[in-house]
Symmetry: C2
Subunit: 297 residues, 2 copies
């Protein structure tokens, strides 16, 4: 498994995903920006906006290399080795509050001395939580995980609960999903097998999310539901700018800001102490933004 091969497969994955989303959306197509990074490498940003279903979304491929900033080296406890990193990262912000926000990321990192690891994850952020939908989402993730390693789903599901959590709000970002990092072939899977898992996850995205897009975008919504969505998007901004490690890494390593921050929703609201009614659908959703829920049960 050479790094070039991994990057190439990620690029093909980006192709498949953008094609599927554009077809399902039916109106908007992706615009593409190629960019180069000062210091080495570059990427291919694909952006969709003002679609039938997707109000704003980005599917980013990048393959960058060079030397790491001191700050990052200290954090990762690495020496001076040049690094190589490639990945596909996406976030979709649908217009209709009944279609959940989604995020997916697969990535590979290596150093010249042979050290490598894979990371990634996928998580769903419904504006209104539908338990059946969350169950199906988790079942599909579990199925992919189980095909590769019996421990992956329980471990990575718990990891997502920890990762996609806003401590200062005491809320999870949504219904979670899976998150993993530093998979380096020491858990029984070879490098090749680990990559196969990562690609299977990447390939799950399009069928999984396109079905949700099709099913949920048919539902009409009220002014109140739209307003709740704009406020929930505020939490998404808070997570990405305060807590998300990928965003931080990108901004700290002189990444392409417009590509990194395409994750920001198109329109957002913040209201001081936004009030929701007792026993409302909004309250039901808030009550489910907790770690440790077994959605499959």
């Amino acid at each position: 498994m050479q790094k070039e091969e991994i990057a190439e497969k990620f690029k093909e994955l980006q192709n498949r995903i953008t094609k599927a989303i554009a077809t399902t959306d039916g109106k908007a197509s992706f615009i593409e920006d190629l960019w180069e990074r000062d210091g080495g490498g570059g990427g291919r940003s694909r952006i969709i906006k003002e679609g039938n279903i997707i109000e704003k979304g980005g599917v980013q491929f990048s393959a960058v290399h060079g030397s790491l900033p001191e700050k990052i080296k200290l954090k990762l406890k690495l020496n001076n080795d040049p690094f190589f990193a490639t990945g596909v990262s996406l976030i979709m912000h649908p217009e209709n509050p009944h279609v959940p926000i989604i995020h997916m990321n697969v990535r590979y990192f290596e150093l010249e001395d042979g050290t490598f690891w894979f990371g990634g994850g996928i998580d769903l952020t419904p504006i209104y939580i539908n338990k059946q939908e969350a169950k199906e989402f988790h079942l599909q993730l579990k199925e992919v995980c189980d095909r590769h390693h019996p421990n992956y789903y329980p471990k990575f599901k718990a990891w997502a609960d920890e990762y996609f959590f806003l401590p200062f709000r005491n809320e999870t970002r949504g219904v979670g999903g899976i998150f993993f990092d530093h998979l380096n072939g020491t858990d029984g899977l070879s490098k090749k097998e680990t990559f196969a898992f990562v690609m299977d996850l990447g390939n799950l995205f399009a069928p999984l999310y396109c079905k949700i897009m099709r099913d949920n975008s048919k539902q009409s919504y009220s002014v109140q539901e739209k307003d709740w969505q704009l406020h929930r998007r505020g939490r998404y901004v808070e997570f990405n700018l305060v807590l998300d490690k990928g965003t931080k890494f990108g901004l700290d390593t002189n990444g392409r800001t417009e590509s990194i921050l395409v994750s920001m929703p198109p329109e957002v609201k913040w209201t001081y102490q936004y009030e929701i009614e007792a026993n409302s659908k909004e309250e039901q959703t808030l009550n489910l933004l907790k770690k440790g829920i077994n959605w499959i049960a």
Copy 2:
């Protein structure tokens, strides 16, 4: 100068400021929330919304104490001493894009062993930069600084340029102002004299900003100007959530999230590669979002 006296003066400052803003706004009044902090102390949040001029704003007083989280102690290189911190912090988001966003903060920190320091700052974020307005703003800050120490204005003006800067956007937040930290009586001013400077700055806020509110809110604005404002507010969010030390400190020390994040604008937009026309007013403003501009010249 006992800490109780400092906190009391800060509280009175909050009173004067909220009274002046509410009077100038003419429509909205402040709502007040008293809150207590797990671990010690509390605060008084005052929030204004949907006014004639101020769409959303907060003036926060707090006086908190307790032990510091490990993370903060490591960062500040402090030992185990219980801390005390009090301050007034405010941000105003006007509805009209011709009225600049403003931020002001004065704060005092002490440890049981007698270590103390003052910090603070004030900076102006116009949506459209008016050089004459920026000049008057800086002249007033300079006058307050010069009254107390000949080095304060040049030093703190440069500090604000460094502090209110978004490296990943290569833009300053606005036209700057002054920023200072760790004033601990070693620059020739006693503790009492330092506090007098801090209070003078705090007292400058209301007359300075209320004049801008009155003058600028008379101007009408276009759809395009409003849209530019919503996008510039996005930069404000990015600064506060990614870079602002006060926000980070608050969120890390189990502060009151709703009070800390009242700094978030009421409504925000993000567009991938937002386009502006050559030689437009928007471009003129972008060209002035630079460090090191001598606004007074």
